[in-house]
């Protein structure tokens, strides 16, 4: 029997700084045949410190490596930030349900990210760049605390060729990006009602963004949010990530609003 908790060795091929507190790690594939879909996550581990989950941020069909972007917030992420090119870390996964990008084929796509919520959406952006005709129009709405925290800044010129990139900041220091939360952008832009929205960010963002998107005529089954929870096993057993009758690790992390709206405890417990 395969031991589902077994972690596989993965070599750090490259480390790149993203803004002031994050780093993108390019990792060798943990095992032969590793593949993932956008929105899925892996469990990264450092012996002695344990495991934590990270959304895979690289292009879907990369046969040689995967990327994760890590913000330094706790013990494990701090140690990850100390790792250098050539070091080994543990990876198991990928786990979870992905964003249903096939449903969005030929349609308008809204990608809404808050802060460190951008990495799991990056595979969709890279997919749109690779296949420009796959989606009708891809609009990115990215809200961040301040300019120094923006991720993937070097790629924006490439993104802009295919996508419509909109950034807002809570505390702008220059006039480059406007001040405000992401929802303010929805009033300035024409949001097509037939669009599929894929979101990743803090719960408070979901609350307001969903409200706005419903106002704009989007259907609940076309709005998808990725939830963050404490996860230990990744198998839907250990109960840490449970919400209602779902397990975020197995049934999620991506849920449609149609699934979430039926019970009270998804944004915060009862």
């Amino acid at each position: 029997m395969i031991n589902v908790y077994k972690t596989y060795k993965s070599k750090i091929l490259n480390v790149e700084k993203e803004g002031s507190d994050s780093k993108t790690f390019t990792l060798s594939l943990p095992y032969k045949g590793f593949s993932f879909e956008p929105g899925q996550y892996v469990m990264a581990s450092i012996p002695g410190l344990g495991e934590a989950i990270f959304g895979v941020a690289s292009a879907m069909n990369d046969k040689k490596s995967i990327q994760i972007t890590v913000r330094k917030v706790g013990t494990l992420t701090s140690e990850l930030h100390n790792k250098k090119k050539g070091d080994i870390i543990g990876i198991r996964g990928p786990y979870g349900r992905a964003y249903p990008i096939d449903l969005a084929k030929g349609k308008n796509v809204l990608l809404v990210a808050g802060g460190i919520g951008i990495p799991p959406l990056r595979p969709i952006i890279l997919d749109a760049i690779k296949n420009p005709k796959k989606y009708k129009k891809v609009s990115i709405f990215y809200g961040c605390r301040d300019e120094s925290l923006l991720n993937y800044i070097k790629e924006y010129s490439r993104w802009k060729k295919v996508c419509d990139l909109n950034i807002t900041l809570d505390n702008p220091t220059t006039k480059k990006y406007p001040k405000g939360v992401v929802t303010t952008l929805f009033d300035q832009q024409n949001i097509p009602a037939d669009a599929s929205a894929f979101m990743c960010g803090p719960p408070i963002m979901y609350k307001f963004v969903i409200q706005k998107l419903i106002e704009k005529g989007l259907k609940p089954e076309n709005i998808y949010a990725s939830l963050e929870r404490h996860m230990d096993c990744g198998q839907g057993v250990c109960q840490h990530c449970a919400i209602g009758h779902y397990y975020v690790c197995k049934d999620g992390p991506v849920f449609s609003y149609a699934e979430l709206m039926n019970f009270k405890s998804w944004l915060s417990p009862i």
Partner: protein, 334 residues
């Protein structure tokens, strides 16, 4: 099997086997412990304080040893064990655990080496109505190796696995009936009591029940330890004293503890973001696991009505009263 013959059977089991069975300890509590002497064995309607999960899911378990970056699987080092006198309620609990941990290497390794001997004895006051009366056709939906149906003056013997048959054959007893496990779902469909309470929790939410419980519960987590179907666990690494080696382990966790839903930390500067912060949320989560999530994921009741949580609760929270309250709230709203 006559009572006399059964005594001989237990003696036969004690010969060369580790037998775990309910026994009264010196303080007068019924506990599970290694059986040394046939006369210590308690076979009756009272349920032991602790549940049988201790012997399938040890409170702490090593999963891997690591040396540098290399992880090596560390399987539980147990010899074969015989669990004797498992009430039919607890068999229902084990049947659920077997499903939950179906793909779990560690659980399955222990299961392989364990013989479960069940009994039809249940407490006189039992909230789970299905098992209030023992009937033979209920056995095919439970997982066990040997089963003792208590009749007037003797036991009727059933076997549920080849291991059980082999053991009886070795003892020299042939008069048993074999029951083939037919899956956990019964012919008549899902358990009605389970469905009614699940519907009550999901569709007739009454916040007052949970606010009241939140005021009484002191988050000690004893119910989660006592419960035979509470199986939450947490994984953690333990470093050895020598550099670059240690183990990855798991231990029981409790949804009543503060760190249960913490998503960042515990570095002093890290934001401690916790999803469940107040008691009523935690106790709701606990009930939600047993009465909503388990039925939804496994189509099996997440509570077997053993009442261990009620017995152990220092705040006297009665799970059966809470179930009645859920049903009352449902009736009122209908």
């Amino acid at each position: 099997m006559t009572k006399n013959k059964f005594q001989q059977f237990v003696k036969f089991l004690l010969n060369n086997n580790l037998v775990i069975a309910p026994q009264y300890n010196v303080e007068g509590y019924l506990h599970l412990a290694e059986l040394k002497n046939v006369k210590d064995l308690y076979l009756g309607t009272e349920l032991p304080m602790d549940s049988w999960k201790w012997y399938f899911l040890p409170p702490e378990q090593k999963m891997f040893d690591y040396y540098g970056q290399n992880f090596k699987e560390s399987l539980p080092k147990i010899k074969s064990q015989i669990l004797l006198g498992v009430s039919i309620l607890d068999l229902q609990a084990l049947t659920l655990l077997n499903q939950v941990f179906e793909k779990d290497t560690y659980y399955q390794e222990i299961k392989k080496k364990t013989i479960v001997i069940g009994t039809s004895l249940v407490p006189k006051e039992n909230f789970y109505k299905y098992f209030a009366k023992f009937e033979e056709d209920k056995l095919e939906h439970l997982q066990f190796d040997i089963f003792l149906a208590v009749q007037k003056g003797d036991y009727k013997i059933y076997t549920g696995s080849e291991d059980g048959q082999r053991l009886l054959d070795k003892f020299g007893y042939k008069n048993y009936q074999h029951i083939e496990y037919a899956g956990s779902i019964r012919e008549e469909g899902l358990d009605q009591q389970m469905l009614v309470i699940k519907d009550g929790m999901q569709n007739y939410h009454n916040q007052k029940i949970w606010d009241d419980l939140g005021k009484r519960c002191m988050q000690c987590g004893k119910c989660t330890i006592a419960c035979p179907v509470c199986f939450c666990f947490r994984m953690f690494d333990q470093a050895n004293l020598e550099r670059d080696s240690g183990s990855r382990n798991r231990c029981w966790d409790s949804c009543f503890y503060n760190e249960f839903t913490q998503v960042a930390g515990p570095a002093p500067t890290a934001p401690k973001h916790r999803l469940m912060t107040i008691t009523s949320q935690k106790i709701y989560f606990w009930y939600e696991h047993h009465f909503v999530r388990t039925p939804a994921s496994f189509s099996l009741p997440g509570c077997v009505g053993c009442g261990r949580c009620t017995r152990t609760c220092p705040a006297d929270i009665d799970i059966f009263q809470t179930q009645r309250d859920i049903l009352k709230a449902k009736q009122r709203k209908k």
